[in-house]
């Protein structure tokens, strides 16, 4: 049985401008020791998915509308507050985007690491402190036994993110949710952080959900990948399947945006247009208005569902994705500028 099985998760935000369907029917599963990447551009619902699993969605305005998230047989979404507290930090923990603000500036690192342990374990100060130092050493903090008594502001961003990783992993959770752990860090540190997560994961057998909008990160670190767009998964499968046999037009457009895959000296490719307004009902493929592939036929009602195309590789086929053609050809052929963008006329 999978460690975590998410079925039809939907989280909506009820705002004055209408109901934002930030996550609208997402299903996936993750096994012990596996790494699942969730990619997509900003606003695609990656973070909201993770926050929903941890039940960190601010309510109101947010609400988990439906779905099941079975973690080790228990539904995270229906669980009582006190049961949830026992799971958070102990069996599932989370790393956040911004390491600069994710540690309490008023408490020493040691205090924070010890508190994280004593909340869940019956452990005395001494043992907890040793474990804290050990944890810091494992994430590559030099001179950990002295640095442990520092305050967060005495650490750089990369160091703080390491402390966060040490803190999230100190109780050896079964699942680690990393919400864009490297976005706020510079590129050299990014690789180190991902490396540390990977090392710790191998040692502890932790499953990791890695949220990112960096495709390179996903390719190098994940076993499975979910590509999200407008609150739904549009393509999922193993990292190889999604990268080498990408089917969905959105996945392929995303790949096209990777700078290192583009010719030098050329203007970098960007996907034209904006993601759809999630307060409105979307008919047909949500990516349709930005899709570089030739479009024919009328929009269907409802969004296309994920279809298995073999070996667990799924994508939401709207029938227009010309899955045989290469995206380069299409882009070379078609002038993407004349794509009708939603709301463009209104804005002007």
């Amino acid at each position: 049985m999978a460690l975590l099985e998410v079925e039809d998760l939907a989280t909506h935000f009820h705002t004055r401008e209408g109901t934002v369907r930030a996550v609208d029917g997402v299903s996936f599963s993750i096994d012990k020791g596996e790494t699942l990447g969730i990619v997509g551009e900003s606003g695609s619902g990656k973070s909201v998915t993770c926050y929903s699993l941890m039940r960190l969605i601010p309510e109101p305005p947010g609400r988990i509308e439906r779905g099941v998230a079975r973690f080790d047989g228990q539904d995270l979404l229906q669980m009582g507050k006190s049961d949830l507290r026992h799971i958070r930090g102990d069996r599932i923990s989370m790393i956040f985007q911004d390491p600069m603000t994710s540690l309490n500036p008023y408490l020493r690192i040691s205090t924070q690491l010890i508190e994280a342990q004593q909340t869940h374990r019956d452990i005395d100060n001494k043992a907890a402190l040793f474990k804290a130092i050990e944890g810091l050493e494992e994430v590559g903090i030099p001179d950990a036994s002295n640095r442990v008594k520092s305050y967060p502001h005495e650490f750089s961003g990369g160091m703080r993110q390491r402390v966060m990783i040490a803190m999230a992993l100190i109780n050896e959770p079964d699942l680690l949710i990393a919400d864009e752990p490297t976005t706020a860090l510079d590129v050299t540190v990014q690789a180190q952080i991902l490396d540390i997560i990977k090392q710790r994961q191998e040692r502890l057998g932790t499953a990791v959900i890695l949220v990112t909008h960096d495709l390179g990160v996903v390719a190098g670190n994940c076993d499975k990948v979910n590509v999200m767009y407008a609150g739904q998964i549009v393509e999922s499968g193993s990292a190889e399947q999604v990268f080498y046999e990408a089917k969905h037009a959105y996945t392929r457009s995303l790949q096209k945006t990777i700078p290192s895959l583009q010719e030098k000296g050329q203007e970098l490719y960007t996907i034209p247009g904006l993601p759809p307004d999630l307060t409105k009902t979307i008919n047909g493929c949500a990516f349709h208005p930005r899709c570089p592939f030739p479009k024919t036929g009328a929009a269907e009602t409802g969004r296309p569902t994920l279809k298995d195309v073999g070996d667990g590789h799924c994508f939401a086929d709207c029938g227009y994705c010309d899955s045989s053609g290469s995206i380069e050809d299409v882009l070379a052929k078609g002038d993407t500028d004349d794509i009708q963008l939603p709301g463009e006329g209104v804005e002007a």
Binding site: R88, S93, M94, D98, S102, L129, I133, S145, K149, Y151
Partner: protein, 313 residues
């Protein structure tokens, strides 16, 4: 990248005893409890101005508490033949219009003023900080309801509120302290609430939730220490406000009653005769001002001391 993995493995090598002297020292600290206040004290000790203020403040407290026992005069003994006389060898601070020794009256008045100032401020601190932190942290409807309640109390004329309290619960000095505290907490609650709302958006609060900490724990241990800076500054401003309020209430007949006096009352009396008997105003006002100076500098120093980022070592 390889660099870092090397350091990681180097550090990860089995070390015979990870407990260096630094670790031993830290363990000792841990046994002693909260490092926040200990660190704050260590930093405060380096602040000369704050330390001098603390010393002076303690002197003033001793002067007021112990002083009357050492004086040969009774603060209430009138000597109408002497009347109001300027400072002399017999009466260092002079005497008031009823011939009472001003030195003793300043000392005894100080007891009441300091007590009012500290007790009422502590009461307002407790209510205000907890109320504000809970409102800010819970947010939404709870916050709206709690803050409307604060607005309501703000809108009530203060005197009427205190009079109502006094009427309902009888008249005693302690009740006056509580009554003043109950009014002064409103500003504190608003400031703490806004501070907490700002902090709530920082990820360490989310991280604390994601680590399975309870709401009470997050509020008490993670949020309140972070708003202590402004809270302390407001507290030092509350102390003089409270002392003046007490004088005002006493003037209305709701606070300290003659023959007892407080600094506020003495200043008030002195101010009425200041053209003829200036010492009646000068001495109590001097002590009042000195205390406020001390508390302000001390509060300033404490605010800096509580903020780990201000440490220069």
């Amino acid at each position: 990248m390889s660099d870092i993995s090397q350091t990681a493995t180097l550090q990860g090598k089995p070390q015979p005893d990870p407990a260096g002297p630094a670790v031993a020292a830290m363990l000792e600290e841990l046994e002693e409890g909260s490092s926040l206040w200990k660190d704050a004290w260590a930093r405060l000790r380096k602040n000369k101005l704050a330390l001098t203020s603390l010393f002076l403040f303690i002197l003033i407290v001793l002067f007021c508490v112990v002083g009357p026992f050492l004086s040969p005069y009774d603060s209430q003994a009138q000597d109408l033949f002497v009347g109001a006389e300027g400072p002399s060898a017999a009466h260092w601070f002079g005497t008031d219009t009823l011939g009472r020794d001003l030195l003793v009256r300043v000392m005894e008045g100080g007891r009441i003023s300091l007590l009012v100032g500290l007790v009422a401020t502590t009461v307002s601190l407790m209510i205000g900080v907890i109320f504000g932190a809970v409102a800010g942290y819970m947010g939404g409807r709870v916050d709206a309801a709690m803050m409307r309640f604060v607005d309501l109390l703000y809108a009530l004329p203060f005197t009427i509120f205190v009079i109502l309290l006094m009427v309902a619960f009888g008249r005693s000095l302690w009740l006056m302290f509580v009554a003043i505290g109950c009014v002064e907490w409103l500003t504190m609650a608003r400031i703490v609430r806004s501070g907490v709302i700002g902090l709530k958006k920082q990820e360490f609060v989310e991280a604390a939730v994601s680590l399975g900490y309870s709401h009470t724990r997050i509020i008490l241990r993670h949020l309140i220490p972070n708003v202590l800076g402004p809270v302390i500054v407001i507290s030092t401003l509350t102390v003089p406000a409270v002392m003046l309020l007490e004088a005002f209430l006493s003037f209305l007949g709701l606070g300290v009653q003659p023959p007892f006096a407080s600094w506020g009352v003495l200043i008030n009396e002195g101010q009425q005769n200041m053209e003829i008997f200036p010492w009646l105003l000068i001495f109590p006002a001097f002590f009042f001002a000195l205390t406020l100076f001390c508390l302000n500098f001390l509060g300033d120093g404490l605010r800096d001391a509580l903020d780990p980022k201000s440490a220069k070592d």
